[in-house]
């Protein structure tokens, strides 16, 4: 076989891979076909990888096969993590993806095959900057999600000016290299400056904004791969990068909308700052509390129950007890559904995964827009580990820091029950007027134990 004919076979393999990738995402539109999507993606990826191993440019296999084995050895355990750890795993994989895109861009700068033109230098510079900042930014995000690093926003005076100056320095070095590609010594400096910018970019962003940040980093990782496709003139990378980049971009838009924030607000206006003032002016108000027995009696008397889970439920490892509650109420003829806010959990869609893991059927998981109209006909709204997404202040208190954020209208249910450790304000530190309503009962205690208590009262969690 001549080299040219072989090259054409390789191109066909890549085209087939691209088609399978698009089908893979298409299958994901419904949970019934979604696993076909994984299969299509796997076949496409395997085809592309195997075809590449036959590329005549691959002169020796030692430094290809050893890293492939290492990659599989790292990847499989990372694919087996617990569902609560999926957000940090995802952030880590954004870091790996960006790392490899940056490494290839850097290697491309140093290969001696062809002199780097100004145009290529511009492409390489931009690609390596985005790859590098996404690498360190994603590592910081993973550290925050894993709680190795503090979750609260780390802010100081003049921060945005410092960060933007560092970015400007990286871009300036890239421009200097375009003007004169012979100044190769500037290249490693540019890489280091871009790595520093990634750290500065994500450090000031607080835990509550992680769903947006992780989506944005997803988008950056995708676009750095697409840019790499431009550098290497590889259409399969351009397509895969464009798909990944647009996916991350769409998810970022959805997350921003769900929190009523803009991109700039997330990136440059740390969420943690406004809140202390909001808590200050509160007088002592009465709350009503109830025991597991009382809660069980109210739930039994209900026809329609909506459970509102938040990340607190997952932290307390209460999802399996919640499933038992769902089972015993369903058996007694009570209709139970789950209301899912788009930012419930630590990444887009996280809460659905946590509940699916606990064997709750997905047709019981209802999105915010769909379920909000049903709350006035709901007998009991049971809130487990969620706070801000149920706060009516977002609807009617213009002075609240979360004013304008779309919320679940739980306050319209006949009875509201909130499982909470204490009256301390939640993650974002904002007081929730929901707790002082006449129709609200506070169920104080650990989510897992309290739900377990209700299940026992209902007479049988199994």
């Amino acid at each position: 076989m001549t080299a040219l004919a072989l090259q054409q076979y390789l191109d066909f393999a890549y085209i087939a891979a691209v088609v399978l990738f698009i089908l893979s995402l298409r299958f994901l539109s419904s949970p019934t076909t979604a696993r076909w999507g994984v299969l299509a993606g796997e076949i496409g990826a395997a085809l592309a990888v195997v075809a590449t191993l036959f590329n005549p440019e691959v002169a020796q296999y030692k430094w290809v096969l050893i890293p492939l084995i290492i990659g599989a050895g790292v990847g499989i355990p990372l694919g087996m993590v617990h569902m609560t750890a999926v957000p940090q795993r995802t952030a880590l994989s954004h870091a790996f993806g960006a790392l490899s895109a940056a490494m290839i861009g850097i290697a491309e700068f140093y290969v001696g095959t062809a002199p780097v033109t100004r145009f290529q230098m511009g492409e390489i510079g931009l690609e390596v900057i985005i790859g590098s900042l996404t690498f360190t930014g994603s590592l910081i995000a993973a550290g925050k999600l894993q709680e190795i690093l503090p979750q609260r926003p780390i802010v100081y005076r003049g921060q945005n000016i410092v960060s933007l100056s560092v970015l400007a320095a990286a871009l300036g070095l890239a421009v200097a290299l375009v003007v004169n590609p012979a100044h190769a010594v500037l290249f490693p400096i540019m890489v280091v400056v871009a790595l520093i910018f990634g750290v500065l970019l994500v450090t000031p962003i607080g835990g509550a904004d992680m769903p947006t940040v992780i989506s944005l980093l997803n988008s950056y990782a995708g676009f750095s791969a697409a840019l790499l496709g431009f550098v290497l003139n590889s259409k399969v990378l351009v397509v895969a990068g464009a798909l990944d980049g647009s996916s991350g971009f769409i998810l970022s838009l959805i997350m921003c909308k769900a929190m009523n924030r803009s991109f700039t607000n997330v990136m440059f206006g740390a969420f943690g700052q406004v809140q202390t003032s909001a808590v200050a002016a509160k007088e002592e108000r009465v709350v009503r509390s109830a025991s597991p027995e009382e809660a069980a009696a109210i739930l039994l008397a209900a026809n329609k129950v909506v459970i509102v889970p938040g990340y607190g439920m997952a932290v307390a490892q209460a999802q399996h007890k919640v499933r038992e509650l769902y089972d015993s109420l369903s058996k007694k003829g009570v209709e139970v559904r789950f209301a899912i806010h788009p930012v419930a959990g630590r990444m887009p869609g996280h809460m659905n995964v946590l509940l699916a893991e606990a064997d709750i059927p997905y047709d019981r998981l209802i999105e915010m827009d769909e379920i909000n109209g049903d709350f006035p006909q709901t007998d009991v709204a049971l809130i487990i580990g969620a706070n801000d997404v149920t706060n009516p202040a977002a609807r009617n208190d213009q002075s609240s820091p979360i004013f304008g954020m779309p919320i679940l209208d739980v306050d319209k249910a006949h009875t509201v029950m909130v499982i909470k450790r204490s009256m301390n304000p939640g993650f974002a530190g904002i007081d929730n007027p929901l707790y002082y309503l006449d129709r609200t009962l506070m169920l104080f205690g650990d989510a897992k134990q309290f739900v377990g208590g209700i299940v026992r009262e209902l007479g049988g969690g199994h």
């Binding site: 796997e42 430094w63 990372l78 994989s93 790499l228 464009a242 980049g245 893991e357 999105e367």
Partner: protein, 98 residues
Amino acid sequence: MPADFISNLYVFILAGFVGFEVIKRVSPLLHTPLMSLTNALDAIVVVAAIIIAGRHETRLTTVLGAIAVAASFSNMVGGFVITDRMLRMFKSGGSKKS
């Protein structure tokens, strides 16, 4: 401006539109598996890494290429494994044994 750039730009813009239309239809129920799946697909940069490492031009580029092969292949393998694990958990009420 090189001709390659223009043809790549065509591909990029068209793929971006396809991505937008396809991903818009993904159920919000599956947004977490979506992110891990696109991560695995994006790991196709492994093909570029294999060529850089396999060309064995200089020690530096081989090392950079080898790191890139390991990093992206771990994403590819791990991404497919975890996506499939997640999707296996999504069961409808009908298919549930009682």
